[in-house]
Symmetry: C2
Subunit: 481 residues, 2 copies
């Protein structure tokens, strides 16, 4: 089958997301609100699986990362220290004719208020000089709206980690190098939210701040600082790693993680920022990009940020951010490697990556086109569908419900008895459910040798195997975990 | 041991929460921000376990509830429809002397700005008349701060569920009665945040809107509407249940759930709101309260809200909220039972409930006082500590790390080799880790019959059993799931 065209493909994905309950427009019944999205039943489970898998990869499978769950509204001085108050802005211009406000760098791709069907300011009116527009959402905390009470919705989760570095360090029984990770919402008042959920105003981040020794401390302790060479194994941390090796380590770790949820390396592109693109304090930054139908775009940035953030907070708070390193017998402000990923972007990438149209035989062997969401079983919203072959046979229904109850403590199960079995399979194909269990007359012993067996259908191959009910739990757990 | 006095107990809990990394003040290095809290490594895991357990209880173990994950900022008309714009306010007065602003109904328990050590407006100055102060945090979406661009941080998660009722209904393959659940942050600009994390400005909710048939439809289909009698079994839904039975069902379900995470019925109190306390549209409301050291306070409210919310949104959006009931051959706006719980309050209740001081023999048999957090294993942040008896014996350390790697895919593990074994136990007691596994010389075969066995210590009894390493995973999984 020919690859559908890009826009057409994106339209199909968006349509399926609404129809099957992955993603809805926020406040749709009131005409929506630009840049805000809701996750429906399947989307909420998908997102939850992504978060869980990421959290466990850091805090459970690693010994050197602990979690944090900080508030969205923080003290405004946090954003002075981080630089967001002064520099987190986009350049904007106003059109003196249509009164529209546009990002100066996106003037040619923004709908004109006068002719909204045109993706450009059509009135050609005179524009004001660009002015900086801060992207943080502002609010007031407490009963009085004064300058003293201004607060912001965090534009990133990272700063809470820096602000709480000493509290976590005091309790976590960790030694540098170690990391703190966090998942949570962040907000940016984007002028032009776009590309579906990709650039939205409310979004979720998964961030790790991994604190390491400054290179000079590594040099002192290990006698040298390892340098990276192509093909080097960066999976097992070594005492002589400086920022460069730790940075490579995290790039590799994160690629492995994406692979573990079904985004193979062929679906991703690494973009190494050039020196001139880097922030003045950054030593390196790699973007992990996914090839979306609307273009290759960033899922995650992995930056070597030096000691910039902790030093800024030390300066602005007057509180020491130094760490005493027993082995080095020295105090220092740790340096940081920051793998920072967007949950909503990743969910969108997973939806795009899963969306497949193929041709399979229907129940009568006639080829038919189906839509199937080929999620990795680990992140699939529903792990297994359970189907009695026929709805009107009480014994089949009873047995099917027993199987459902057997599986349910271990994974998400969808029980469905309505309609032809082929249609029930197709529904689960669209939901991305990797396995289907069908209870038929052989299960009940019509063929005595098949008593208490079921068919186990594979979503991608449509192949069906006969499996003992008693084998189902371990067999499926092995595939979905 | 005598029960510690209330304030003293609360102080001990707050101190432990900071010291062990359950809860930190948000933005502490900048002096904090009143009403906002962060969860440290242990607190983040505890909260995560609570959320997971709740979510799975609704969406995985029940067949009639699906999830939703909606945005925090929604269209402002949502709050007009719900009534929050006009009525979600507290009465406030200003003191003309000290310029403090106080809740009119809490004048006698609010710190005076002039003498903050006094929990009352001390200056005794003349007060203004009470005025309504809306508790929603306000912000502006988009680049221009105009009335048209005002938006609010949601003061509750419930309204998104109502607003998305038809979208979910269209995709979820459910029939009324069914529910939609959501976990997420909500914000209330409380004048006087207090009682630690209990009344904060940013908090998390776990809400279910359970949609049921109006009583007259039940009557039509089932021929009667069941009425509640004391001691009735409300666990298995019946066709003739009206709102009263469904309400009882959910009260019972929620109590069972609290019990399943260690809050037994003796720790809770049910408060049935009196008719005069109910909102005009509400038919009944029960508060599930916990006996906090600072007083008995609400963890969850379970309200029978009729069709108020859906009808309001139907009116304000002009979109139908009617459901077509195939069995009744009728259209109606479903009625609602709403179990609405606070995550942070529950976490605080679990911390208070877990905090225990007892006397146990130390390693030399001498009685010593210990602090132990007796969390239910299901919600304990760390499930098992793994300890080599001695740090300086490579064989013990190697074996202990093997045990850690064996357990890690299944649960959170804390590996600790530093310090005397007794001190390591105590540290995990304070963290609330229910099990401790110690690898000693017998594990290595010093007594050949004990080869590949470990001691398994129970946090609460301090009892140690000898267990085969190969039995550990199933044995522990059975206890922590």
């Amino acid at each position: 089958m020919a690859e559908p065209k890009t826009n057409e493909l994106m339209e199909k994905i968006v349509s399926l997301c609404k129809r099957r309950g992955f993603i809805f427009q926020s406040s749709e019944i009131y005409g929506g609100i630009n840049g805000f999205w809701d996750y429906g039943p399947l989307g909420a489970e998908l997102k939850r699986n992504v978060r869980d898998h990421w959290w466990r990869a850091q805090t459970q499978y690693r010994e050197d990362v602990v979690g944090l769950d900080a508030s969205i509204i923080m003290h405004p001085k946090i954003w002075e220290a981080s630089g967001h108050t002064t520099t987190f802005s986009d350049p904007m211009v106003d059109c003196k004719t249509c009164k529209g406000r546009f990002r100066a760098d996106q003037l040619d791709s923004t709908p004109c208020p006068v002719k909204p069907s045109k993706m450009v300011c059509e009135c050609d009116g005179e524009k004001t000089e660009p002015r900086a527009f801060n992207l943080m959402f502002k609010t007031y905390v407490g009963p009085i709206e004064t300058v003293d009470n201004v607060a912001f919705l965090r534009p990133e989760t990272a700063q809470a980690i820096f602000a709480q570095f000493q509290n976590v360090n005091a309790c976590a029984r960790q030694k540098v190098p170690f990391g703190i990770c966090q998942i949570g919402k962040a907000f940016r008042n984007e002028i032009n939210p776009r590309n579906y959920t990709f650039r939205s105003r409310e979004f979720e981040q998964m961030e790790i701040e991994f604190f390491i020794r400054p290179d000079e401390v590594v040099q002192k302790i290990a006698g040298n600082v390892a340098t990276y060479a192509d093909g080097m194994d960066t999976s097992a941390p070594q005492a002589n790693w400086g920022w460069e090796l730790w940075h490579r380590h995290w790039v590799e770790e994160r690629l492995k993680w994406y692979e573990s949820i079904g985004l193979g390396r062929d679906t991703l592109e690494l973009y190494w920022q050039e020196k001139k693109e880097l922030a003045h304090y950054a030593k390196a930054c790699v973007d992990i990009q996914y090839k979306f139908p609307f273009g290759t775009q960033e899922l995650e940035g992995i930056a070597a940020r030096g000691d910039f953030d902790l030093t800024q907070h030390q300066k602005h708070s007057g509180k020491s951010m130094e760490y005493f390193d027993e082995e080095a017998k020295a105090k220092y402000v740790p340096h940081v490697i920051e793998p920072s990923a967007g949950v909503d972007r990743l969910v969108l990438a997973l939806l795009c990556n899963a969306y497949t149209e193929d041709t399979v035989p229907d129940e009568k062997g006639k080829p038919e086109t189906r839509v199937v969401m080929k999620f990795h079983p680990r992140i699939a919203p529903i792990k297994v569908g359970v189907f009695p072959l026929l709805k009107n046979k009480p014994d089949l229904v009873k047995k099917a419900k027993e199987v459902r109850d057997l599986l349910r403590p271990h994974m998400t199960v969808f029980y469905d008895e309505a309609g032809a079995i082929g249609r029930r399979y197709r529904r689960q194909d669209e939901a991305g459910t990797p396995f289907g269990v069908t209870i038929d007359f052989d299960t009940l012993g019509e063929k005595p040798e098949l008593l208490d067996t079921v068919t186990l259908r594979d979503r991608d191959t449509c192949k069906q195997d006969r499996v003992k009910i008693s084998d189902l739990v371990p067999l499926l757990l092995q595939k979905v975990r």
